[in-house]
């Protein structure tokens, strides 16, 4: 797909990845599968930020966590740095962790309240590297400066820091390992606009200074638009549209992407209007509709949508999974 335009190899490549969770009844018997991620293929190129958007429950976090190794894939491949990592275990898997890191919604919350900042920052280096103490200290100080905190903060406990500073320490902790790819899972949800803006600026600055690649998971389209060069839109475990951010936001082809964009509250634009077409809520992922999964809410749906699942095919500059795009 994008391979022609990009001479290098992708940093991360996911092929037909699936992750199912069993659903059980009251007696523990399996009654079916919840198909959280159901056949997703995408590539993340070095230095880029790939956005992954969708409503809650669409499987975007499950995808991120499966790539990270928190869940084992039910099917499909995860190639990272040219190596299949989906089924690695133990020591081999830990070696990957230095290059691949995951940032939760609030990275500050993963600090141990009984540890000083310094100890929290040394920990990943102790686990993953054999660097001597002096070298570790140098590295930690450099990274602390990069996230915008003074050295004096090394001697503080997390509760002595503000929420924003805790967040920075959490990020510093991840950066000490010099990862290549960072999966950011809803890194700004729940933040105020002004704080969100400074966190996003920090991500951008760190990306430049540490040559990072981001997989940016978010439900907030405005944030994704500001941060990402390419965007994948997920609906009920499948990618429905994938392409350049400019193209996807400028001329969305999939009816779901269009509705999603129309639903974003904007300033100076449209007020609540009748044009917005998306009614109802996403169906239960335990019981996905046949054919195209979006058809139950789609204004364009016809018989073929129930019968056949549309494959991702190139339309304009994007890949779109729709019979009528």
């Amino acid at each position: 797909m994008t391979a022609a335009a990009e001479p290098r190899a992708p940093l991360l490549e996911v092929a037909d990845l699936a992750r199912y969770f069993p659903t059980r009844n009251a007696f523990g018997r399996r009654t079916g599968w919840l198909r959280a991620v159901d056949g997703v293929s995408l590539a993340v190129w070095p230095g880029e930020t790939l956005g992954l958007v969708g409503e809650s429950g669409c499987g975007k976090s499950t995808l991120g966590k499966t790539v990270m190794g928190i869940y084992t894939p039910t099917a499909g491949e995860i190639r990272f740095l040219g190596r299949e990592i989906g089924r690695l275990r133990g020591r081999e898997r830990r070696q990957v962790a230095g290059d691949l890191q995951y940032v939760y919604q609030d990275p500050g919350a993963s600090l141990d309240p009984r540890w000083k900042v310094e100890r929290s920052l040394h920990e990943p280096l102790l686990i993953h590297t054999r660097a001597p103490r002096v070298e570790r200290e140098e590295r930690i100080q450099a990274i602390l400066r990069a996230v915008g905190l003074p050295d004096a903060h090394l001697d503080l406990y997390p509760h002595e820091l503000s929420g924003g500073q805790q967040r920075r320490v959490g990020l510093a902790r991840i950066l000490t390992l010099e990862p290549r790819l960072i999966i950011l899972d809803e890194p700004t949800s729940g933040l105020d606009v002004s704080v969100q803006a400074s966190v996003l600026k920090l991500f951008r600055r760190l990306q430049e200074s540490f040559a990072l690649t981001y997989l940016f998971i978010s439900h907030d389209l405005a944030v994704v638009r500001a941060m990402c060069r390419r965007v994948a839109v997920m609906y009920l475990g499948k990618i429905v549209e994938l392409g350049d951010a400019a193209g996807l936001f400028g001329a969305p082809h999939h009816p779901y992407t269009r509705s999603l964009l129309a639903a974003v509250p904007t300033i100076g634009g449209r007020r609540v209007t009748p044009e917005f077409s998306l009614e109802g809520e996403p169906p239960n992922p335990r019981d996905v509709p046949s054919g195209c999964r979006f058809r139950t809410r789609c204004p364009l749906a016809q018989d073929i949508c129930a019968a056949q699942e549309p494959p991702l095919r190139p339309i304009g500059g994007q890949l779109v999974a729709c019979h009528f795009a």
Binding site: V193, L221, A262, P265
Partner: protein, 348 residues
Amino acid sequence: MSELLSVRGLTVEFATDQGVARVLDRISLDIGQGEVVGLVGESGCGKTTLARTILGILPPGAGLIRGGEVHFKGRDLLREDPSVVNDLVRGRGITFIPQDPWSSLSPLFPVGAQIMDLMKWKSPRREAAGPPASGGWPALFRRYPGARRRADREAVLEILRAVQFPEPARALSRLPYEFSGGQRQRLMIAMALLPRPDLIIADEPTTALDVTIQAQILRLLRALVKERGVSVLFTTHDLGTAHEICDRIVVMYAGQEMESALTDVFFDRPAHPYTRRLIESVLSLDGEIQDIPGEVPSLIEPPSGCRFHPRCDYATRECGARRPDTHTVEGEHHVRCYHPLGAARPGA
């Protein structure tokens, strides 16, 4: 416009381990009949405390009202007999839509039972009880007359249809967990409308929802309140949401109100430097990232005068000395600033 609710110089403090935090500092606010007013500001600026003070549900013992008045339909809610406020105002004249419907519904009872429980006391068909007669049964044991119960049940079904709740009659016997977040929020809107209030206080009612569901809920809420002529105080930290639903917007910063203007004026010609910074920090779908330098101040040792002055580009000595008075820019556009930005804003 005749004011339905009028808050004057309201000051609320919380005692904390570190000291006394003045969470609301001489706040004034008006809401007209049938008006949807947005109260916007960052987390910790006092939006929720203001909403709770108006409703009279500050956490007992912790929140201390240090001064000010809250006038609602000719009553000063802070000085009125609490039992009268409870009987006529809270849950009847003024109702509430919470941010998180989970914490307002008991997981153990069917939603129908919970709605009827509300209607037993807050139905518009219930006549005012007056002060409790001494020696009688406690209010809890009073009967729910059958005729009113039947009429109330009809009203409940009607309102559930109005909020587009699927299969209202069957839904009443279900438990809250059987509904999605969007449906629970529809239920909350229905419960807020049932007592036929004059004012609904909606505290970030769509923050926890996805954009598509949020758009549906906002559209529904605005249509329902406009149809019924109900006023709304809508708190949110999302300016986009405020733009979608509000007639007028009041912006708060660190416990002080900074500016109040009709929605279009608010976004086109903001007069307060903070308002302008806040609007600029919103990411548009094609936008650049702009933040507000500095951090939100501590409310325990807040900056003197205008609380925004340490982060303000236009601050002068008088800003730190005394809080500016309200200055009327034009008509309904009020700002508390010594150096309001001129009407001419490049590009606006």
